[in-house]
């Protein structure tokens, strides 16, 4: 997926709840590239433009799993704390 598509995807799937400054995606992508969690190749977008397409690497996938599970654990904790009057 390339940068612009990614932004649209985030906006769409989060029902526009997550509004990000579009540009700030790129430094984040560069960091992922540097860590080797994604790889990038030049390709052609659906609108026929030369764009850089990012793919998750195996290492990236593992890292994502780890992050997601730790995030879920934290989220669970938060939800429990916030859940009203179960006592």
């Amino acid at each position: 997926m390339h940068g612009y598509a990614l932004v649209q995807q985030i906006k769409r799937t989060s029902n526009d709840v997550l509004q990000i400054e579009e540009g700030s995606l790129y430094p984040a992508l560069q960091r992922l590239l540097k860590e080797g969690f994604v790889k990038a190749e030049w390709g052609i977008s659906s609108t026929n433009r030369r764009v850089r397409i990012y793919k998750l690497t195996t290492a990236g996938g593992k890292h994502l799993e780890r992050e997601v599970s730790s995030f879920e654990r934290m989220l669970k904790g938060i939800t429990q704390v916030l859940a009203p009057g179960e006592l």
Partner: protein
């Protein structure tokens, strides 16, 4: 190596990033247009939602490689570019820094080589000089070397101490080497057992002296210095075991010391063993320098206590002959004051070098102030540029860093140029430096000096960059974009930094000029002192030594000297000649002894004050131009007749008998067995120890005196300085004739220490003249930099106030009024600077008290003169810009808007 590839593939990375972002924007615009937005509006909206493209690109780049390194690279490139855009600024700033750095690096290399570097011996920190003082020994008390050691002290100390690894005594001298091409007088160092072991430098060839060499009347041996070995034997290793004739005695060469080896502070050609005869030892004979190596962990205080404990042991172990009381030395209050050997070598030059280093450091501060000024002016003109960079998203740190990188870069380039100049500067310093500057041959620019220079450059770069950086990196700069710089006149606040700098510069320059002024006064005072001889450039001096082995008989020694005098006087152009055991300020070890007067009573077991004594030939006073205050000179008839006559110095006559004339006819002697000698003449005081030291009391014996100890009838003085009064003194042709005259009397007599008394005199004031030259240079640099500083600030102020001045003219002000306004401003700055400077100088010049002579550190004349000079110069520096201000055309100035 990954980061390296990244560093070099930066260009591709950046291009790809830009392309990617551009694609993102394009896609967004297209989508918005498809939704019905106009293309312009779509573009704006896309950009807005994307954020600051430049900043984001930068953030992306920072993910890769070292952002700070890259930024610094960028800042350097940018700085270089902006420097080439203003070449005049760059050249002026660089030159200022380069000269300042060069002066500092040169002086530091001297300080480093002389004061900081350890001496050239293994484990030099363990080495000490066995210095001791004897406040009870009058006359000797002010003697620079304190009380030297006697041979018996050496035996007691070296055999019974508990704090030293090894210990020895040594003495310098001269000797005649004969039997080779032509006779030569060489410098010798005679050493006891323990000296070479203490210094610990292995020989370059052969071996050290061993105990066998120290046996009296044992095998005669000698070691060579590297220089003598090269000069005389071409560095041939087979000289070991060969004999050379030293003072008519054949000696076997047992070893060669390595290149650069010196005995403490003495260069030498030959070294011989002292070979003390234990059986003939007495308590006295305090003529030897002591040197020792402390045991590991032993302190100087412990060593002092150790030797203090041994002094009574020494007095009990030896005597001065039957009937003498060995404990009379208790009255001398001999106190060991052991010093690190390095301190002994450096002597009193340390203080001088630190003063010079300090003044040169002040010059560097002034130079930094000037460069700060230049940078401030430049930063002012660059406000717009800086404001644009801020507006484009450069943070405050980024701007500060940019300015600092630029100034440090400027300083480093200046430092590199300065280091080049420093090589020339060091050569200059070594040439003008006092020729008796210790460790002169060790002065080099080494890694430490280069390190110092680098740190100095970077620090000064930070120093002069910091003020403009802090001043112009603030967010308020945004206003300059809107052209708010066009106020009618410049606010006071904007000038505060520059005014402070000018005040500081004037104050520092005043301190430096003040110290230079005090040195000028010192030098002038020294010139007025009568050294005890006249017209020194026409006074040729040379040393001739007649060893026992060459002429044994006493009277023949004196007759030979007398014959030399006659031959010398016959040379064309010679007005008069004479000889003496030592001329003033020649710096040879002097002789002291107790002097008894017939008409004074001395309590039992007390010793009269020690007096310096010399032997003097008839005719010397006339040749040297030394005045006879009362009485008459001795004659050759009296000398050969062994008539008991003596002369004394004026201060001695006054001290003992009140007036010079009262001394005539009184009688003196050195020790009880000596006949009483009648005072026949009183001689003016001479500056024996140097122009800055008080003239000591001196007794002048004849060149041949009754020998009361030996088997001979009389004993001569064998090593003397001949002085020849002639207009041709110092010329090569004259010296050739002098040599021929001496050799016509005895062909085995070499000449040594051939020089005019002017050279002796110059060497004596070398420390003062060196300080004078250095402070003079520093003061001149400070004055010039100060002028440039004031001039720069005033011109800039005038150019900034052009509009205001134009309005004043338009309102009817006269040229004189404007002149006054500008001058008043400049004068105010200079005056504040001068006042602060006077206060600072008042505190600081006290540090150089020891370098001054005939003038106090707070000499009012110098203070007033220097302050007036500086005010005058400052006014002149203001006058030119003020003059220009009066030429402002109001119409042009106001239309300029």
């Amino acid at each position: 190596m990954n980061w390296l590839r990244q560093l070099f593939s930066r260009g591709r990375l950046n291009r790809e990033l830009s392309e990617e972002i551009q694609a993102h924007l394009d896609e967004k615009v297209e989508e918005l247009v498809a939704e019905g937005m106009s293309r312009d509006e779509a573009m704006r909206s896309a950009r807005r939602e994307f954020g600051n493209v430049g900043l984001i690109e930068e953030d992306c780049r920072e993910v890769w490689a070292w952002p700070s390194v890259e930024d610094v690279f960028f800042d350097i490139r940018y700085g270089l570019r902006s420097l080439t855009h203003s070449p005049v600024f760059a050249v002026v700033a660089l030159l200022t820094i380069a000269i300042g750095v060069a002066a500092n690096a040169a002086v530091f290399s001297v300080v480093n080589s002389v004061l900081l570097k350890p001496l050239n011996y293994p484990k030099a920190e363990e080495l000490v000089a066995l210095h001791q003082v004897a406040p009870g020994a009058e006359g000797l008390a002010d003697f620079e070397n304190g009380l030297l050691l006697s041979p018996s002290m050496f035996f007691t100390y070296s055999e019974q101490n508990q704090t030293f690894q090894s210990l020895g005594v040594w003495i310098t001298g001269t000797a005649n080497v004969t039997g080779m091409a032509e006779p030569e007088q060489v410098r010798t160092v005679s050493v006891s057992d323990g000296v070479l072991q203490t210094l610990g430098v292995p020989p370059a060839a052969g071996r050290w002296f061993s105990q066998v060499d120290q046996v009296p009347n044992g095998p005669a041996s000698v070691m060579l210095s590297y220089g003598y070995w090269q000069r005389r034997f071409g560095g041939n290793r087979r000289v070991i075991g060969r004999n050379i004739t030293v003072d008519s005695q054949p000696r076997e060469i047992v070893g060669v010391m390595p290149q650069g080896f010196r005995f403490v502070d003495s260069d030498f050609d030959l070294t011989t063993p002292l070979a003390f005869d234990r059986g003939k030892m007495i308590l006295a004979g305090f003529g030897f320098h002591g040197i020792a190596r402390l045991k590991p962990g032993a302190t100087i205080a412990e060593a002092n206590a150790d030797l203090t404990r041994l002094l009574p042991v020494w007095m009990d172990s030896w005597s001065n002959g039957p009937g003498s009381n060995p404990h009379i030395y208790e009255e001398w209050r001999i106190t060991p004051m052991i010093r690190p050997l390095k301190q002994q070598v450096i002597g009193n030059v340390g203080e001088l070098l630190w003063v010079v280093m300090g003044t040169i450091g002040l010059v560097m501060l002034i130079a930094c102030a000037n460069v700060t000024n230049l940078l401030l002016v430049r930063a002012e003109t660059r406000q717009q540029e800086l404001a644009v960079r801020t507006a484009l998203g450069a943070g405050r740190t980024r701007i500060v860093r940019g300015i600092l990188v630029e100034s440090v870069m400027l300083a480093i380039i200046g430092g590199v140029v300065g280091t080049g100049l420093a090589y020339a500067g060091v050569r200059f310093l070594v040439t003008i430096g006092p020729s008796n500057l210790p460790r002169l041959n060790e002065i080099t620019i080494d890694a430490r000096t280069l390190g110092f220079t680098f740190i100095l450059s970077v620090l000064s770069g930070l120093l002069f960059g910091l003020i403009p950086a802090l001043k112009y990196a603030g967010p308020r700069n945004i206003s300059s974009l809107q052209g708010a710089g066009r106020t009618i006149s410049v606010s006071r606040e904007r000038h505060r930094a520059r005014n402070l700098l000018v005040v500081g510069q004037v104050a520092l320059a005043l301190v430096l000029l003040m110290s230079a002024g005090l040195m000028i006064r010192t030098f002038a005072a020294l010139r007025r002192v009568d050294p005890g001889f006249t017209d020194p450039q026409h006074l040729q001096a040379l040393r001739i030594s007649i060893p026992d082995s060459l002429i044994a008989e006493s009277e023949r020694v004196t007759r030979t000297q007398n014959a030399i005098l006659e031959k010398l006087s016959a040379i064309q152009g010679v007005k008069s000649a004479g000889f003496v055991s030592e001329m003033p300020m020649e710096g040879f070890d002097s002789d002291w002894d107790e002097i008894f007067a017939e008409d004074k009573a001395y309590a039992d077991n007390t010793i009269p004050p020690l007096r310096l004594y010399k032997h003097v030939s008839p005719g010397l006073l006339h040749a040297a131009g030394t005045r006879l205050v009362a009485g008459r000179e001795m004659t050759w008839g009296e000398v050969y007749g062994l008539q008991p006559v003596v002369m004394v110095s004026e201060n001695l006559a006054r001290e003992m008998w009140g007036t010079p004339s009262a001394a005539i006819g009184k009688r003196l002697r050195e020790f009880p067995k000596m006949p009483w000698h009648e005072v026949i003449g009183v001689i003016q005081d001479v500056r024996e120890k140097g122009m800055q030291d008080t003239a000591p009391e001196i007794v002048y014996w004849p060149p041949l005196v009754v020998d009361v100890f030996g088997s001979r009838a009389a004993s001569p003085i064998r090593t003397v300085t001949f002085v020849i009064r002639s207009d041709r003194a110092g010329t090569e042709s004259f010296l050739t004739e002098v040599r021929a005259a001496v050799q016509s009397v005895n062909s085995d007599l070499p000449l040594a220490s051939v020089r005019t008394m002017q050279e002796v005199y110059d060497q004596s004031v070398a420390r003062t003249s060196f300080t004078l030259v250095m402070l003079g240079i520093a003061g001149t640099m400070a004055l010039m930099l100060g002028i440039i500083g004031i001039y720069g600030v005033m011109s800039y102020t005038v150019s900034q106030r052009k509009r205001e001045i134009g309005i004043r003219f338009a309102l009817g002000a006269q040229g004189r009024d404007v002149l006054t306004i500008v001058l008043r401003q400049g004068t105010k700055l200079a005056l504040v600077g001068v006042l602060i400077g006077i206060a600072a100088a008042f505190a600081l010049t006290r540090l150089m008290t020891n370098l001054l002579f005939g003038v106090t550190a707070h000499d009012p004349l110098t203070f007033v003169a220097v302050a007036a000079l500086l005010m005058l110069v400052a006014l002149l520096a203001c006058y030119i810009p003020a003059r220009r201000a009066t030429l402002v055309d109001p119409i042009v100035a106001l239309r300029h808007e």
